[in-house]
Symmetry: C2
C-alpha cells in the first residue's frame, strides 16, 4: 500500500465546504486520517456517521500539532478566534488554508492572529456555492472542475503554496492565484454586486401593496434574475461588509451606468439603448459558464 | 364530424408566437383552415411544410373578410400598418387579437388605425418567451399552462372578449384580464426592469480592460442573473421605448433603492443590510414560478 499524500488533516466546520474537502481527499485516497472540529456536536456526529471524518477532535492543541493541513471552513467571522487558538500549537510542517469567499479580511485576520505562523497560512476561496449547506450536503465531487483561487501571502514559501495547490487539485479543482486585492475586486464585480442587485429588486417589489399581483405575472426572466435573492441574508450581509470598499466601488459604477440608461430612456435615445444592449449581448453570448 | 369552433384563422407572422397559436388550435381540432401572411416567403413556405399553415395568403382583403380570428404576431412596430390594411375589409364576425408584449402602444395603434372596427380588436399578451424564434421553433404546446393577459377595450363586447379568451384557452393557456395601463406597469416591474438591469451589468463589465479576467471567475450566480442579457437588443430596445413611462418610474424607484443600500453599505449598517436581504429572501422563497 502506498502512503497517502496527507497523513492527517484537521477540518474546522464539517459542512458543505469542509465536508466536501474531506470526502474528496478520501476518494482520491490522499488522506490517512480526518479529524473534525465544530460548534455543533450533532453535526460532528452526523459527519462521523456519513464517513466525512474519522474522529471528532477534543484537544485543538494536540490535533493541529501533527496535521499536514488544517482547513478553516467556518463562517469568516469565526476564523480570527480559531487562528489565535491554533497558531501557538501548529507543527512546523503544518499548513493552514481556508474556504472563505472574501480574502482581504481573512488576510487581515491572519496578520493579526497567526503570530509567527503567518507563513504557514495559504488563503483560498473555493468557488463552489450551492443552495444546500450542512454535513449532509457534502459531496466528494463538489470541487470537480470547479475553480479554487489561492491568494498567497508574500511570507508563504513556494513549497507551501504548491502543497496547498496540490491538495485542492486532488479534490478535482482547477486552481489559480490572485492577490487578495485582485480577488476581492473580481468577486465584488461578478458575484457580490449581482447578489446585492438581485436582493434590491425583490426588496423593492416586497414593499408594495400590489406585490402579489406583480409576482403572479413574473416569469422565467424574473425567476433566473432573482434566484440569488433567496441566498442566506446573514452570509451576504457578512460578505458585503467584509468586501465593503470594493463593493462600494462597483455599486457606484453601476449606479452611474443606470443613470446613463435613465437619461437615454428619458430622451427616447433608441441608438444608445440598442448599443448598450448589443454590447452586453455580445459579451454574454461569448461567455462560457463553468 | 363535429364542426371546428373556428372555421378559419389568419395569422400575420408565422414564427414562434403565431406559429404556435396555429399549431395549438390544430392540435385541439379547433380550427378548419389556417392562412398565413408574412414578410418572408421562405418562412411562409417553411411554415406550410411544417403544417403550421394550410395556405400562404395572397390577398389580405379577401382573407380577412371571412376569418373568425386574425392574429397579429409580428413585431409591435409593424402592427399599425397591418391594422390600417385589414380594418376596411374585416367581416362583421371577424375578431382581431395580437401577441405584443407591450399593450399601451398596441391600444394607441388600434385607436389610430382600426377606424370603425376598434370594437373588434381584443389585445393580448401571451407570456411565453423562449430563446428561440422563427417558424421552426413553433410548438403546439408552447402555451400549455402559460399565462395570456387580455387587455380588453371599453368598446369590446363581452362576447368578443369571451371568444378571444376561448381561443387562447384552446391553446392551453391560463387567461387573465388587466387594463392596458395595469399590464404595462406590471411588466415594467417584473420583466422590463430586470432585463434593463441585466443588460446594464454586463455592459458595465464589457467596457473594462480586465473583462476577460473578471468573466473567467464568474460562476452560477452571474450566469443566472445575466441570462436575459443575451436577449435580442432590437426587441428590447423596442419594448423599453414602447413602455417608456412605466419603465422610467420603475427604474427611478430602483435607483432610490440602490442609493439606500449604498448609504447602508457606506455606513456599515449591518442591521439594515440584513433586513433588506431577509425581506427579499422571504418574498422570493415564497414565490412559485410558472
Amino acid at each position: 500500500m502506498p502512503q497517502p499524500v496527507l497523513k492527517k488533516i484537521v477540518v474546522f466546520g464539517v459542512g458543505l465546504i469542509g465536508g466536501s474537502f474531506a470526502l474528496a481527499l478520501r476518494r482520491a485516497e490522499a488522506v490517512g486520517e480526518v479529524v473534525g472540529f465544530g460548534r455543533s456536536t450533532a453535526t460532528l456526529e452526523q459527519a462521523q456517521q456519513l464517513g466525512i471524518i474519522d474522529r471528532i477532535g477534543a484537544d485543538v492543541a494536540a490535533e493541529v500539532r501533527d496535521a499536514d493541513i488544517v482547513l478553516l471552513a467556518t463562517p469568516v467571522g469565526q476564523m480570527a478566534e480559531l487562528m489565535a487558538r491554533i497558531a501557538p500549537h501548529l507543527g512546523s510542517h503544518t499548513l493552514v488554508t481556508d474556504g472563505g469567499s472574501t480574502k482581504g479580511d481573512v488576510v487581515a485576520a491572519v496578520r493579526a492572529n497567526m503570530c509567527d505562523k503567518v507563513a504557514q497560512f495559504v488563503p483560498a476561496h473555493p468557488i463552489a456555492g450551492a443552495e444546500k449547506s450542512g454535513a449532509a450536503a457534502a459531496m466528494a465531487d463538489l470541487y470537480v472542475g470547479k475553480k479554487v483561487v489561492l491568494t498567497p501571502l508574500p511570507e508563504n514559501s513556494t513549497e507551501s503554496v504548491v502543497r496547498i495547490r496540490r491538495a485542492w487539485e486532488l479534490c478535482g479543482a482547477v486552481v489559480s492565484e490572485l492577490t487578495a486585492e485582485q480577488h476581492d475586486a473580481v468577486f465584488a464585480a461578478v458575484s457580490h454586486l449581482p447578489h446585492l442587485l438581485s436582493f434590491a429588486l425583490v426588496h423593492d417589489l416586497a414593499q408594495r401593496d400590489d406585490r402579489d399581483l406583480l409576482l403572479s405575472f413574473a416569469a422565467s426572466g424574473f425567476r433566473d434574475f432573482t434566484r440569488i435573492a433567496a441566498s442566506s441574508p446573514e452570509m451576504w450581509r457578512d460578505i458585503c461588509l467584509a468586501n465593503r470598499d470594493a463593493l462600494l466601488d462597483e455599486l457606484g459604477r453601476y449606479q452611474q451606468e443606470l443613470e446613463t440608461l435613465h437619461v437615454a430612456l428619458a430622451e427616447a435615445d433608441a441608438d444608445k439603448l440598442e448599443q448598450v444592449f448589443s454590447e452586453a449581448r455580445k459579451v454574454r453570448s461569448n461567455w462560457r459558464a463553468e
